[in-house]
Symmetry: C2
Subunit: 222 residues, 2 copies
DNA sequence: CTGCAGATTGACTAGTCAGTCAATCGCTGG
DNA sequence: CCAGCGATTGACTGACTAGTCAATCTGCAG
């Protein structure tokens, strides 16, 4: 029993950690279960001793990490802080998650978060909770008047989360620099961009009437 | 030759259109080439008459559409408009692209844009051009002083594009409502959120207009 | 020492599917 | 009417791999 609780979780964890590396390197669909087993240094069959399928490994990885994020968002929301600082904390948490384990975040974003036909659909409810957690922060800000009432909280949450996920994607694809300084700066910049806006407050540039002829056509073909 | 330009492109186009539907419905990895052939109403082998591989179909779909978007962004940038209106046009174009052909945009976002290990990496340069096109608009705004100089144009472009892509993802996953009105409103809201920011300018407009239909998305869901 | 139970092994099976290819179709020009 | 050629067909193959399973190992309790 002591062995069962010392060795067994050990190998299981080794398999999960190996899977993160393999999935991140080759992609879930382009790797074999034997790649994971080899990376973990265990026999092929042992993977199926701990997991029922290849997919279950990915599910486990996602759920483990996502729950941590949901807990973090909930905890941040409960703090007594200005709304902007709460969003800054959320951005900081997600960015630090990437910094701490880029492979895992890569796998979650690439293989789950955007996989509308497989894992994404399966975990839709979980993914949604993250939006809702952020929306709760925005909603409180709207009610207290610090955020615009004209932008629905759920909509604002999507924009905010989307901006952050795009930054992670930029790092994953190596189109954005990845020094410690870049990560730290990004935390502040993304909050400034979304909460404060891109426009200069001083100039107070008024946009033209949105219903006017600012044409946008998707160039219909076929 | 008349036949070659009338019939041949016809079947080819039927295969491409069928592939969009099948890829969107089942996902690129979860469908068979025979599914595409069946959907198109052609024989299996004909797919390989027009395309060298299953992947080439996806590449073709992506490149066709992405080029249209790059052209649109370039054309919008060249217009004589305030920067905010340019970004409004870009957002409008992308959102209308989704509205016009949701399956195609779903495939592009789900199978290419976020597929860091396969197609995404292959088309990284193309994807990047979109960021750069948006960044050019932001950069002009910074130089003329209407946008904050403290937020790098490339960074702002990532946030802006990320917010839009997240909206599309929300529609794809059906977590956001998809009426015509929702699409139209989203165009203005995303620009207001990113350019104007979520925060209230100077004064909190607390109990100004609670009955207005602007903020009418109930957050009552559990 | 013995036997159980869970951990571990890796060869094997069963099924899948991308891509091939030889045959056939159908148009067009001679 | 035929020859030629691209378009079209769909059965077939070769390669791949997720998941199974019977054998083996290991630690421990009796």
């Amino acid at each position: 029993m002591a062995a069962a609780q010392k060795d067994a979780p050990d190998k299981r964890r080794m398999i999960l950690d190996a899977a993160v590396r393999v999935f991140a390197r080759q992609g879930f669909h382009h790797c074999r279960v034997s790649d994971v087993a080899d990376e973990a240094g265990v026999a092929y069959g042992l993977v199926y001793h701990y997991f029922n399928s290849k997919e279950e490994i990915l599910n486990t990885l996602f759920l483990e990490r996502w729950q941590i994020m949901l807990d973090a968002i909930g905890e941040i929301d409960a703090r007594d802080l200005p709304s902007r600082d709460k969003l800054r904390s959320v951005a900081g948490f997600i960015i630090d998650s990437y910094r701490h384990d880029p492979d895992l975040m890569k796998v979650i974003i690439v293989e789950v978060t955007r996989a509308a036909n497989s894992f994404g659909a399966l975990h839709l409810a979980e993914i949604r909770k993250a939006y809702e957690g952020i929306a709760a922060i925005v909603e409180a800000a709207r009610e207290e008047g610090s955020f615009k009432s004209g932008i629905p909280a759920e909509f604002a949450a999507m924009c905010f989360y989307g901006a952050i996920e795009q930054l992670l994607t930029g790092w994953i694809f190596e189109v954005l620099p990845r020094t410690d300084e870049d990560f730290e700066r990004a935390k502040d910049l993304v909050v400034e961009a979304i909460c404060g806006g891109l426009e200069n407050g001083e100039h107070a540039v008024r946009a033209s009437d949105p219903s006017s002829g600012v044409a946008s056509r998707p160039a219909a073909s076929g």
